[in-house]
């Protein structure tokens, strides 16, 4: 499947040089992300793999523009990113969107599901469309993720299961059609059986809209399955990067080797003597 999964695209979509984030000052200074360089190409699925505390969530928040960058430069679609001020940020967020880990805390429980989808239509400039047209768009988005809009309309988020909520998040992305989707552990809180559905939908989304998907995960098996290229992160730094096959099947860095070695396998022997 690697053939059809990897459309050849070369134009850089998001890149960074020396991106650093430092929290606190003086003695309490912590370097969460330490001079990382990266280049994500259009239509590519990239995984950033790291254990908890590696700085992958901080990096993802910087990429999204939710927190400031202490040092370094991020380029978006070839141009240096400028997100100073509310309006520029709003413009940037038309190009980059996210799916978060916990579907239960991703929704405002006081608003109906329709509101989430209507916001997306508004953001794409469809605020003045007639209501029928909006319903049509929402129905199409829900159909894309195998949900029925008629069953969801007028419901509150807590009436849905975790898998349904996460699919609704993808429907939101489908409506927004950003150039980049940042998925922060989108399947770690949902059941194994629903995981395949979510992953399939993300792949479909990429195939249909040529979206760049940045996958943030600690699950190296998942990263290997879904991504074209993988960045391995340890203590705020990228220790290894490359195509999925190269990084996983032929790891170079000691950390990557250890990580892969420590994950339980089913076809190969799981070597317990190494710890």
């Amino acid at each position: 499947m690697s053939e059809e999964k990897k459309p050849v695209k070369n134009s850089s979509c998001l890149s960074g040089t020396g991106v650093t984030k430092i929290f606190g000052m003086g003695k309490e200074k912590t370097v969460a992300v330490d001079h990382v360089d990266f280049q994500f190409r259009e239509g590519e699925i990239v995984s950033i793999v790291g254990e908890s505390g590696s700085g992958k969530t901080t990096l993802s928040k910087m990429l999204l523009g939710l927190i400031s960058v202490t040092e370094g430069e991020i380029c978006f679609q070839g141009k240096p990113r400028d997100i100073k001020g509310y309006h520029k940020k709003k413009e940037y967020w038309k190009g980059i969107q996210a799916i978060f880990q916990d579907p239960f805390s991703s929704f405002n429980v006081f608003y109906k599901i329709d509101q989430v989808l209507l916001d997306c239509i508004k953001m794409r400039g469809g605020a003045r469309l007639p209501y029928e047209k909006k319903v049509e768009m929402m129905t199409e988005a829900c159909r894309f993720v195998n949900l029925k809009f008629e069953e969801l309309t007028n419901k509150y988020p807590f009436e849905l299961s975790g898998g349904q909520m996460q699919r609704l998040m993808i429907a939101r992305i489908f409506l927004l059609k950003p150039a980049i989707l940042l998925a922060d552990e989108p399947t770690s809180m949902i059941d194994a059986c629903s995981r395949a559905t979510i992953l399939d939908m993300l792949l479909k989304l990429r195939d249909e809209t040529n979206m760049t998907i940045i996958f943030i995960t600690h699950d190296i098996g998942l990263a290997f399955y879904i991504s074209d290229s993988i960045y391995i992160m340890e203590h705020g730094k990228f220790v290894e990067s490359g195509t999925a096959e190269a990084v996983i099947l032929n790891p170079k860095a000691a950390y990557t080797k250890r990580l892969i070695n420590d994950v339980p396998k089913i076809h190969e022997e799981w070597d317990l003597s190494t710890v």
Partner: protein, 335 residues
Amino acid sequence: MGKTMLEVDHLKTKYITRFGENVFAVDGISLKIEEGKSLGIAGESGCGKSTLALSLMGYYFAPLHYQSGTIKVDGVDITGMKPDEIRKKILGNEIAYIPQAAMNALNPTQKIISFIEDVIRAHDPGASKKEIYDLARERFEILGLPESVLKKHAVELSGGMRQRTVIAISTILSPKVLIADEPSSALDVTSQKMVIKMLRNLMEKGFIKSMIFITHELPLLYNVTDEIMVMYAGQIVEHATAKEMVFDPLHPYSKGLMGSILVPEKGARDAKLTAIPGTPPNLKNPPKGCRFADRCRYAKPACMLHPIAESRLDDGRMYRCYLEEKELREVYQDE
């Protein structure tokens, strides 16, 4: 055949909600573990696997209540015992329990050795400090934990070390059954591996006679246990050896579950992940027939009508499906 360490027969336990409804989270479960064996329990969140772990100890507190069935530990029936009796006689020296958050359960003001003293003195009030210390040091050495840990406070240890220390403390009395409920899920992969290595070590050295390991991580379960049971909506849907379960699942739900395994191995990228649509039934009001029928792609109208009984193959393998083994293999073949 080894001695039977734990035998559970048609155990049924329930939660009573605030509104007085009964939720049978463990609905007629039977299992048997022999000495030196380990049993894995797999299932999605909400299937009742953690409730099963609590129920197996015979230690019930609201809102969990006992309904029916028997639990025998090494031949002794513990079902009728009072909670106080269970706590004194069974927990610790017959059955040990390690929950996922065990590492956060240690009182930060006490040193590790004083927990061990508490555990040992609860069952042997006469033990001297020296005896206990020597025993603890010896046990820690065998399990690969540094002696210095004994004199430390829990907060001084890292998460993985703390979890391993808790396991060592819980098993210091060499219990007959160890029930581990997601003992390594909150840890990073390296610490997880260390925990697993230690559990294996405990088994090999005979410090625990048998083990029940509960997790939703299937590759881990495959590597840790001899047999695997798959739980769905409060019932066991399939029980087989670990190898059979992972590579040749029989029940459609097990099949789906095994099809969702992701490992960083050669060829894993070309595998097709299976997805099961829908959500598990609400246990307040479970379906009358097969509990998986409304999500099963091989379901027949008859599946919905009657409760499905457990069927057994000649080699003792159990599954709960309306279809015969042959029919199941045929439908899987057709795909």
